[in-house]
Amino acid sequence: MSQAKNGAVLAAEAENREFLVFSLGDEEYAIDILKVQEIRGYENVTRIANAPDFIKGVTNLRGVIVPIVDLRIKFHFDKVEYGGQTVVIVVNVADRVVGIVVDGVSDVMTLTPDQIKPAPEFGVTLSSDFLSGLGSLDDRMLVLVDIDKLLTSDEMALVESTSNQ
């Protein structure tokens, strides 16, 4: 294989991104796989008084206290149930560890740049600021969430906002 060709393949691969696909209700969302630390069940969450309702509380992750956010409540889903399928995706954002509750994790997908479409301006609940695009895969549509921006945003109330100090 020639050097040039090799380089071209590498460049193309570098632009491909891997996403972890999860479901909230009937919708499919995806986040950058590199942000994901681990996936675990939903259990043993200690409530934090006077916190917004989508912050379920904190849990013990091998000695580290980790806040748990329920994205279903945040995105105003009607059906919020906790069962055997309920999963917590533990993500690393902005030097913090945060767990997000979702209805289930389906698979890991590789998307090429042309499969990622820009997100249209929509929704009050989920501002397009927090989306890195929409992934189209055959007849499926994945909402690509910019988990960094979402979790560090003021409205998530997860981090001490600078204006508050």
């Binding site: 043993n44 934090i48 006077n50 916190a51 917004p52 206290i65």
Partner: protein
């Protein structure tokens, strides 16, 4: 291997050497200097110079070089020490420290200070011994000082022999890169006459005036001591030189001492040489470990303890169902004991003796007293008392401030002291000791004490509301109010009134408190009470509804069953409880923290009387579970500050429990009540700030 890898090692070693040097300088009796101490000071300077040269820190190297020359004269008795010379040496040490810091932060050191100190030191050499020291431009390869004047001819010849001695330096198992560096280094120390060999053994014949020890000290910045073998080639036949180490060279001072008075010192030198291996073993019995690693171990052990409790729970459940197994239970109790021992041992790694704090005070006291023209004797007690490292680091500044304050405001001028029949020399005592789960640090002086009336007058002047009925303790606490100073004039040392409030805040942020005892005319005793560690907290676990919380045990005074008659409603919502003729505000935890299914009838719940920031409250809880030590976990690492909660911990079953913050809860309760009947929405509350004035 990159030489930059060694920078940190050099910085740490040089810092230790500098503080050794300072300590020896301070302990030095100028009228009758101990030659061992002078040698130690000289060695420290020499090692720093060597290291600085190796790493190309020329300014530091040159400063040290001049200082070293002077010290060399001093240890040979050619330079008579005086207090002011010691002061200059101390100043030089400070400048070297600054230079070191500058190099560490990759900046160029202050050129002006460098030139000034070089000039001062050279002036001393010129004035005291009429010797022109070689200027800072020619480092290291200077001819050694002339032989001591009082020496006999024999000593003189010996001295010369050593001065011109040929040394065979063998480098064992040294990689080529390092070897080149080392040979360059050797070239600085003397004349390299031949070199040959391979990686396993590389021999260099060196003609040098430096002793084998000095050479080894320099080399040791790059390689290990056992990788060097230094042999004197021609000195071996000489009887006096036979103590010159023929085998792997030790790194202590004995041969140097021998040079002073060879005949008299030969025997002690031999003894010293024998003692050396022991000393070396003692040095290598400690290792440097980064705090991160220690904290990681502490975390892991905490996890282990939790897992062990979980297992323990399972085993006792099995026992309840009568399917227990005796050997399983034995194993569990053994595991429990071992795990606790392990935790204790690991926690003790973080503990370091107070000596690390106290050791800087001789200097602080000397300088401050000098500036103020006072005579002070410093006494330290309980140097070996151990304290958590993070606290040691944070206590130093407040303590320095208290000491300075004591010297400035407490101890009188020598003449005044004499006039009132006190010894001229004031006494300042620093002491540390354990008291229960706390450490008690005291700063005691035998000075003027605090004047209650003057404090009160000053407080009124500053617009602080005071009354004549205040207790002495309360009046003395006034000095911690911001902007409060009774010093008649602002001095360099203190009197601006900034600082004391910072001292108190710092100590409070460490979970400690400051108390003052003082008697007019007799002195003041400032007591700092600190918890031993921040990582572990003695807690009282309580239950409200189905939720478990931890109250810091140090805040809990008592608990009682409230009766209807003792509870009084005030202005609608507020409730107070009468406990022994005192009315305490009642905080119902289930209301403040929105706990569901909690007992709402106060007479059926338990009132825990707690104290926070000098005020008492009654907290209504459902149930007291018991006392336990908990590992404190920060909530802010991954989340944010939560009103009314100071931190979190992990319980035996692996779940998280929140540690309550008494004053924060009180503020939160006030805030909620002020928000009144209108529905307080969560978003509003989450923006509630701790600092909100209550």
């Amino acid at each position: 291997m990159d030489i930059a890898d060694f920078f940190d090692t050099f910085f740490e070693e040089a810092e230790e050497l500098l503080s050794d040097m300072e300590q020896h300088l301070l302990e030095l009796d100028v009228d009758d200097p101990d030659s061992e101490q002078l040698n130690a000071i000289f060695r420290a300077a020499h090692s720093i110079k060597g290291g600085a040269g190796t790493f190309g820190f020329t300014v530091l190297q040159k400063t040290t070089h001049i200082l070293e020359n002077l010290l060399d004269y001093a240890r040979k008795g050619e330079l008579t020490l005086r207090a002011d010379l010691v002061d200059t040496f101390l100043e030089a040490k400070d400048i070297m420290h600054e230079q070191l810091d500058a190099y560490r932060s990759e900046e160029e050191p202050n050129q002006e200070a460098f030139e000034r100190i070089c000039q001062t030191l050279q002036q001393i050499a010129l004035d005291e011994i009429g010797q022109q020291l070689d200027g800072p431009a020619t480092p290291a390869a200077e001819p050694k000082a002339p032989p001591p004047s009082e020496n006999s001819a024999e000593a003189k010849s010996n001295q010369e022999k050593v001065a011109n001695s040929h040394l065979l330096v063998a480098l064992l198992n040294v990689a080529e890169k390092d070897r080149i560096l080392l040979v360059e280094e050797l070239e600085q120390l003397g004349e390299v006459q031949s070199q040959s060999g391979d990686e396993k053994r590389y021999e260099v014949i060196l003609k040098s005036s430096d002793s084998a020890d000095d050479i080894e000290a320099v080399m040791c910045f790059i390689i290990e001591a056992d990788q060097i073998e230094i042999t004197s080639i021609e000195g071996a036949a000489d009887t006096t030189a036979s103590t010159e180490p023929a085998a792997p060279a030790p790194s202590a001072p004995a041969p140097e001492m021998k040079l002073d008075k060879p005949a008299a010192k030969a025997a002690p030198a031999k003894e010293a040489a024998k003692e050396k291996p022991k000393k070396a073993a003692a040095e290598s019995s400690s290792i440097r470990v980064s705090v991160d690693k220690v904290d990681q171990i502490i975390n892991l052990v905490g996890e282990l303890i939790i897992t062990q409790s979980m297992l323990d729970q399972t085993v006792s459940d099995l026992e309840d169902q009568s399917v227990g197994n005796a050997s399983l239970q034995n194993g569990m109790s053994l595991l429990q004991r071992n795990a606790r021992d392990l935790q204790e041992a690991v926690m003790s790694i973080r503990m370091i003796p107070m000596e690390f704090v106290f050791s800087r005070f001789p200097r602080v006291v000397r300088d401050t007293a000098g500036k103020l023209g006072k005579e002070i004797e410093l006494i330290t007690e309980g140097k070996s008392t151990e304290l958590d490292k993070s606290l040691v680091e944070r206590i130093t500044d407040p303590l320095t401030h208290l000491v300075r304050n004591s010297l400035d405001h407490g101890v009188e001028m020598p003449d005044v002291r004499e006039a009132i029949g006190k010894p001229r020399i004031g006494k300042l005592t620093l002491s540390a000791r354990h008291q229960g789960g706390n450490i008690l640090i005291e700063v005691r002086d035998d000075g003027a004490g605090m004047d209650r009336d003057r404090l009160l007058a000053k407080a009124r002047e500053n617009g602080i509301s005071v009354s004549d009925t205040m207790t002495d303790e309360e009046v003395f606490q006034l000095i911690f109010a911001p902007g409060f100073s009774t010093a008649k004039e602002v001095t360099d040392v203190s009197g601006r009134g900034v600082g004391m409030d910072v001292v108190k805040r710092n100590i409070q942020s460490m979970g400690g408190r400051v108390e003052i005892q003082s008697k007019l005319g007799e002195g003041t005793n400032t007591r700092i009470v600190l918890p031993l560690t921040l990582a572990i907290l003695d807690g009282m676990s309580i239950k409200v509804g189905g939720e478990t919380f931890i109250l810091p045990l140090s805040t809990v005074l008592e608990s009682l069953q409230p009766s209807k008659d003792d509870m009084y409603a005030m202005a609608g919502d507020d409730v107070v409880i009468k406990v022994r003729d005192e009315y305490l505000p009642v905080i119902a935890i289930h209301e403040v923290l929105n706990v569901e299914n909690a007992i709402t009838d106060p007479t059926k719940s338990i009132a825990v009387i707690v104290q926070g920031e000098g005020r008492r409250y009654a907290m209504l809880v459902d149930e007291l579970i018991g006392q336990q030590q908990v590992v404190v976990k920060n909530l802010e690492d991954n989340y944010r500050k939560v009103p009314g909660i100071s931190a979190a911990t992990i319980l035996g079953d692996g779940s998280v429990a929140l540690i309550l913050d008494i004053t924060g809860l009180h503020r939160l309760s006030r805030y909620k009540k002020e928000a009144g009947k209108k529905v307080v929405n969560n978003q509003n509350l989450s923006s509630f700030k701790e600092a909100e004035p209550s």
